[in-house]
């Protein structure tokens, strides 16, 4: 199987490229890439879930807002997520259920503090499946 995502390091920041057979899968893989930056996904169990519903002016913005919503949930609820079911996704709306668990310092090693997803070099490319690119401020 081809890889789900790649991490690209820049001098001060980090970007991710996520792949999918369709946009939903690429959005889910982008979220996995985000939490892979924060911790080891293998150490995360699917114990709880959170539902996210978003609207944005276009699909690129939707991608940024989706990832920023997950950063927000991590920050206020201390939840690390590992699986993402995208229930609905079009150009302006996203509905998703994300599974993970509360951070437990005995099993989760927190690697990187991610401040936010940015609009810099943002791409949603739908030729031949879907490939998305996002730069994070870390």
């Amino acid at each position: 199987m081809e890889k789900d995502f790649e991490i690209v390091n820049h001098t001060a920041d980090v970007s991710i490229i996520a792949y999918g057979a369709d946009t939903s899968q690429a959005f889910a893989n982008a979220a996995r890439a985000l939490f892979n930056l924060i911790t080891e996904l293998d150490d995360v169990a699917e114990i709880l879930y959170r539902d996210i519903k978003l609207t944005a002016p276009d699909q690129e913005s939707l991608l940024v807002e989706w990832l920023n919503e997950l950063i927000y949930l991590f920050d206020i609820e201390n939840i690390v997520f590992k699986r993402f079911d995208i229930i609905k996704l079009n150009n302006t709306q996203l509905k998703a259920r994300s599974y993970g668990e509360k951070v437990d310092s005995s099993k989760h090693k927190l690697k990187t503090g991610v401040k936010a997803a940015t609009y810099h070099m943002l791409k949603v490319d739908k030729d031949n499946g879907c490939k998305v690119q996002v730069l994070f401020d870390i």
Binding site: T11, D75, G113, K115, Y119
Partner: protein
């Protein structure tokens, strides 16, 4: 073979390089980089010229899109960028401030010397590490409720000083006296407030730190004395942190909102992360008021950390704060947008000065410089990396004329965090530092490798350029003795 940038840049002198307005169609002003030739090679490789040029698209920008010598690749604005826009017809851009609004530096002096502190440094660093919450996801020891958070956002550090976290004297030696006027919590989302409540009084992760350092060079004895820095070997405490998740969320919210405003106002931008709105529009004013809240949050955050740092010294050295002489030298921010007055072509103009990874550097006699520094100028605090050194400098008249009262903010990265981690192990970094007499305690070993000296430009070189160019001048250099990091 000449370097590729030599065909693009116009050399003004050894430390000033202009990016002509013709470099990219749509630039409203030229770019100006403060750097030496050696640094330009690296800056070119990183394609930072593009980012300096992109900032020159912002409506109302005056003079130049500026880059300090510690410039490196950011998102939208470069880090180490300064842009001033006219208030009457220009824009304000959250990307020109950054996610960590009012990330900044605070310096405390002490009466202690290296001989007194070195034997106790391990105990002191351990004490600081326990008493100052740090690391990814850390929470503060103080809990404010919603109403109290609004007080923090509107009143800044003077509010928490009144609650016992510090001395009244700290206020005057803090930029803006620790409080941006016009902060309006109604312009801040409930999400930002939810992130802000648990994180007040935390250092965070990444490059944030508390450092115990020793003065190793004094370049201007009179100016140093005015700051309470009297001798080589004197111990200082440097704190570097910002507005935590609160500021990140304010920026996130407003980049999205202003992305829409860009369309409404028909602004042409080469990069979405430069999202902006006219300063005098409702959107622009809303951002300014929310950003001011985040600035006040950050000053309060550094105030709490300074207070705990003082408590640790009191405990470890069994001396009172007065005996220790732990007065604040200054507190200055390096991620902010400020409304300031400048003379442009002989005319007074009110400008919005964006400093993203740049430090305010006002000269002697400026009305915003505290009275005790009126004759020397505003202290500029420039942290380096944990293996090298940091500087105290002063603002100058040249900075007022050429860089909108701004200078560099630190060393600037040259190596990505992962590249640093690949080439170094945290344990080795700690050992190498220990061999040089530097005690470090970090939340994770990986973060130690990420922040190793090799990942940064040499701060000595950066500060020398600002000194030679005249946009700030060196007063004191200090080397680390003990560091805590997230």
């Amino acid at each position: 073979m000449p370097a590729p940038w030599q065909e693009i840049l116009k050399k003004i002198d050894d430390y000033r390089w202009e990016i002509p307005q013709s470099y990219k169609q749509g630039m409203l002003v030229p770019g100006l980089i403060f750097a030496n030739e050696a640094m330009l090679n690296h800056i070119w490789e990183e394609q930072v010229f593009q980012q300096v040029a992109n900032v020159a698209f912002l409506p109302g920008i005056v003079d130049h899109s500026l880059a300090m010598p510690d410039i490196h690749w950011g998102y939208g604005f470069p880090i180490g960028g300064v842009a001033a826009t006219r208030v009457k017809d220009g824009v304000i851009s959250p990307g020109g401030v950054g996610f960590d609004i009012n990330c900044g530096v605070r310096l405390l002096r002490t009466n202690l010397t290296e001989e007194e502190v070195r034997p106790k440094i391990e105990q002191l660093v351990a004490e600081l590490f326990v008493n100052i919450p740090s690391g990814v996801g850390s929470e503060g020891k103080i809990r404010v409720n919603k109403k109290e958070l609004d007080e923090v956002l509107t009143k800044g550090s003077p509010w928490i000083i009144e609650k016992g976290y510090g001395e009244a004297e700290d206020i005057v030696v803090t930029e803006e006296e620790g409080c941006m006027k016009g902060a309006n919590p109604d312009k801040v989302s409930s999400k930002a407030k939810k992130r802000g409540i648990p994180q007040l009084g935390t250092l965070g992760s990444g490059n944030h730190f508390v450092e115990v350092e020793i003065v190793d060079e004094i370049y201007d004895r009179d100016a140093a004395t005015a700051m309470g820095i009297n001798e080589i070997g004197q111990v200082l405490v440097l704190i570097h942190t910002g507005s935590r998740g609160f500021g990140h969320q304010v920026c996130t919210d407003y980049v999205a909102l202003l992305g829409e405003a860009v369309k409404r106002y028909g602004i042409n931008l080469p990069d979405r992360q430069l999202a902006c709105a006219p300063i005098n529009s409702p959107e622009g004013q809303d951002y300014l008021q929310a950003m001011s809240c985040a600035a006040n949050y950050a000053w309060t955050n550094r105030q709490c950390i300074a207070h705990w740092a003082r408590e640790c010294f009191i405990k470890v050295f069994s001396k009172s704060q007065r005996e220790l002489g732990m007065e604040q030298v200054y507190d200055v921010c390096h991620n902010i947008a400020k409304i300031e007055e400048y003379t442009i072509e002989g005319k007074k103009e009110t400008l919005c000065v964006h400093r993203k990874g740049a430090t305010r550097a006002f000269p002697a006699g400026h009305s915003d410089v505290p009275n005790i520094y009126k004759n020397i100028g505003q202290p500029v605090l420039i942290p380096g990396d944990m293996g090298r050194c940091s500087y105290v400098a002063l603002g100058t008249e040249i900075a007022m004329k050429e860089s909108f009262g701004s200078t560099c903010h630190g060393a600037g990265r040259v190596q990505s965090r992962s590249a640093a981690k690949r080439s170094l192990r945290g344990a080795d970094v700690a050992q190498a530092l220990a061999a040089r007499g530097i005690t470090v305690k970090a939340g994770s070993m990986a973060s130690l490798a990420e922040e190793a000296s090799q990942a940064y430009k040499d701060v000595n070189e950066v500060v020398d350029i600002t000194h030679m160019a005249g946009i700030s001048r060196k007063v004191v250099r200090a080397v680390p003795l003990g560091v805590i990091k997230g």
